[in-house]
Symmetry: C2
Subunit: 226 residues, 2 copies
DNA sequence: ATATTGCTTATTGTATACAAAATACATAGA
DNA sequence: TCTATGTATTTTGTATACAATAAGCAATAT
């Protein structure tokens, strides 16, 4: 007999720790350059060093922490350069996502996307920044899922993750809200109609705007590579 | 005073194990579906379970092993679908790599790339499959390095890695050798001349050919998604 | 014959113990 | 005062010990 009570999902401690630390890094609670000391974290989270270490190994591969041999882990620095690198890749992968979504999205997903689009608009109208962020993630999640390419989805999510620390500032910029809604609509319509070019143009614009905002926040000597 | 003898680089056991296991998986020594049991591996490699576990955590995030809760790790299955997913992403990232390399490659790297191109031709003439594989990796490594985008480099390498198990069969296909050399030359010339379109066309063709070969090897019902 | 139960074993998940290296700091000497 | 050195402390790297779950198997009941 199957387990009828599947409410209580089992998660190894390492995964709990992994998620906890990741969230801490992304929200800025753990600051760039801050050392992640095992015993300290173990005490704080009430577990032993083992799950802490295993979680750090994963964060390492995700690029969220930097390892220094025999010195341990620290929260990865975000530089203008590293952010540009991320954005450079994100642009083509987001473009690919939209293209594939146009070709492969199911009717059901189209509906979901429409709902997500509306929810985003409502969130924007409400002015609740946290709700806007959530709705934005949900919208983009549906698109990458609709590509049917789980590896792509994972990679895009990982890249998007790198930008979360800045995104909040971006969302706070109220005068951009209209633009945001407009872009989402364009993307949605493009995908709905299977108009790949329209959807791609919209997502490109979307990322470009985020790039401007993020780079503005970071440091901003103007260094252009032709 | 700095350490003048930096020959002996320190590598934590977890990284040694990581590389060992990865190589084992990529060469096919560890077969898809095979379980990775910690004590067994620990004995075999002469270390304790701890570094084994940490290595597995990294392999997990790289997609080379699959975790089953409370049952441990096994070598990830390669399906036609998973390989198509990888190739789908690789195409755009390789294209991006070549584009960026065209714009940013240094004179020194141009020379290196020329040498690597020649070495590849020599390897092909020699007929030494292993040497061909190495020279191929070296050639492509220079290109991704020349992008100046380390995150992109890492992602491309990870994707390329997924195809190593099949690449050997591909290289064994002697009648393709001429084509391979030709493609490499085109890529090299395109980058040298800063002719982005030429270089991109060449790399696209390059990956397409690999795709054909790999998909041929795997299973081969023809399923096309328009 | 099939299903169920209980036991044994194998294996993972977690905690702890020990060793080695890096760091910080104080102290002695120039 | 500044430098160098030795020592104590912290922290990582690795190994082992213990606990809990899952898998295999035999014996029993239906």
């Amino acid at each position: 007999m199957e387990n009828m009570f599947q409410g209580e999902e089992y998660l190894p401690l390492r995964d709990v720790v992994f998620k906890t630390l990741r969230k801490g890094i992304l929200t800025g609670e753990l600051k760039p350059g801050e050392r992640l000391m095992e015993i300290h974290l173990a005490n704080k989270l009430g577990v032993s060093r083992t799950p802490i270490r295993e979680a750090i190994r994963k964060l390492e591969l995700e690029g969220l922490v930097t390892m220094i041999p025999r010195r341990g882990a620290e929260v990865a620095q975000i530089t203008r350069k590293s952010m540009q690198d991320v954005l450079e890749v994100r642009k083509v992968l987001d473009s690919l996502s939209v293209e594939l979504a146009c070709r492969r999205i199911s009717e059901e997903e189209k509906e979901q996307l429409g709902l997500a689009c509306e929810e985003f608009e409502q969130a924007v109208e409400s002015g609740d920044f946290s709700a806007i962020a959530r709705a934005d993630v949900a919208f983009h999640d549906i698109i990458v899922e609709a590509t049917g390419n789980m590896r792509l989805a994972q990679m895009v999510n990982n890249l998007a993750e790198q930008m979360y620390r800045y995104r909040f500032e971006y969302i706070k910029d109220v005068k951009m809200h209209g633009k945001l809604v407009q872009e989402h609509r364009q993307i949605y319509q493009g995908i709905l109609e299977g108009d790949m070019e329209k959807a791609k143009r919209a997502i490109d614009l979307h990322i470009d705007n985020q790039e401007k905002s993020i780079l503005e926040q970071i440091g901003m000597e103007k260094e252009k590579q032709a």
